[in-house]
């Protein structure tokens, strides 16, 4: 395994899954069908893609406090992402991920698109602040 991304200490236990990279920012309310965990906004880079079981990367986030409850709802429906990595995030995303127990990191470097492609198997260690390719 080789380290491809590093960032500050994140939240949650180590997790291994396929990565899904988005060039577009993320808003739970604006971009995602909260029943299914599928990106529903027309024209979004991940339109039609499910976040379920993936380690998902978004460069930035948008909008509001709906994220606070929505990740927990995704966990209960069995369609939650395995982990979320952000370029820049905001408090509500992290508040929601902490409530749901979903691992999270932010401020990773370098640009994930320069070292990974969607479908790569990765292992993320929030405690050590790193992502490795498996």
């Amino acid at each position: 395994m080789s380290v491809v991304l590093t960032g500050p200490k994140g939240f949650g236990p180590d997790v291994e899954a396929d990565i899904l990279l988005s060039r577009d920012s993320f808003s739970i309310r604006y971009d995602m069908d909260r029943e299914t965990g599928v990106i529903s906004r027309r024209g979004h880079a991940l339109e039609g893609r499910s976040l379920a079981g993936k380690i998902v990367y978004f460069p930035a986030v948008q909008g509001g406090v709906a994220a606070g409850w929505a990740f927990l709802a995704l966990v209960h429906r069995g369609v939650a992402p395995a982990a979320v990595i952000f370029g820049r995030t905001n408090p509500v995303m992290i508040q929601g991920l902490v409530l749901a127990g979903i691992p999270a990191m932010h401020r990773v470097a370098p640009d994930p698109f320069s070292v990974l492609k969607s479908g790569d198997r990765v292992r993320m260690s929030p405690a050590r602040g790193l992502v490795e390719i498996v």
């Binding site: 994140g10 604006y30 995602m32 930035a60 948008q62 909008g63 408090p91």
Partner: protein, 418 residues
Amino acid sequence: MRLTDREARILAGEAGEAPRLALAQQIAVGEFFEAEHFVPVTNAHMMGDMEVMGDAGFAFVESLVKHGAAFAVPVTTNARCVDFERAAAVRQDPALVAREAALVAHLKRLGALQVDTCINYQTVYQPRFGEHLAWGDTGTVIWANSVTGARTNYEAGPAAVAAGLTGVTPAYGYHLDAQRAGTLRFEVRCALSDYADWGALGGIVGRLTLDYWKVPVLAGVRQAPTGDELKHLGAALASYGSCAMYHMIGVTPEARDEAEAFRGTAPEAAHVVDDAALAAFYRTYPEDRPEIDVVVFSGPQLSVLELRRIAALLAGRRVHANTALLVTTNFANREMAARLGYVKAIEDAGGRVLSGVCWYIMEPAKMAAAFGWKNVLTNSAKIANIIGGYRLHPILRRTDVCVEAAVAGRLPAHACLA
């Protein structure tokens, strides 16, 4: 994080299981954002309704009630997804209505003040300069930080509940001086004549900012804005840009001049917002067809002065048979507007004044399907931004155009941009 003796006792479970869990979550969030300690908050404002919470959130609140939890500071509730008195008229799912009623009962047991408003700062509580809060709903946060100089991060539903249970919140972000420095400079040269224009300005600045940690500084604003205009500006800035604070030179309290707004730092970037930029923003919301299915005044809830304006524009007229007109506000403002005759003027014209709700959380996709609506005309840039995610066609126009279209059943020719 460094804990006080009181916080350490909460974490040890001496205040009960619910505050212990709440503080543990707050520590996880605080450490993620490198907070060193907590700050006491005077009150919390929570977004908690079945549309946003789902069954999982309901179960979470129910578990708090079973633990015998009680809020340690006043907790007010945000706009919710059901107007219990008018749910049938707008064809809301009876199952959702029943579930929402059960949720409200649980929140009352925790001690929440069920005010159901996203404009708490206009109708319930006006924080003072420098006061620490734990507010949810982004529009309330950006108002508190920017207009009053109070201090809060976005505190989503569970985070506001946690702060309500512990009476503290982690000291990171907008609780700290350093985060409140302006970062981007916007020279505002456009004429702003309507709530929709202020929302559009928020949308333009928000799209260029798109970062919770950046603070746009608006310079050169020609006319002193009203509170309602700042409300639309802030709601749109938060919605489009994830912004929690802005400065407006000569208007907001931490921006008497640019030196104060930027706190001695240089802006990272500078932009100009002129009339062409404003026109271009409206053109991102072209009509799908001139006929309008529903006109919505909401997001945020309307003040009494906004209700007065809608009532005056509609007085003695009739909303077209093929078009619906919805207005949302809170209980207090609806009661006041009823006494002042505004509710009667709007409802005699065929509009509907809903209370305790905001339209975009009322399951708009289901409502649209029930009524056969395909497009939505609004003067709220925030609503226009959100509705795209529900596969309804959003059209943003000024308030008078929205009312004219409601009466005619179609956009006036001068307001067609497609």
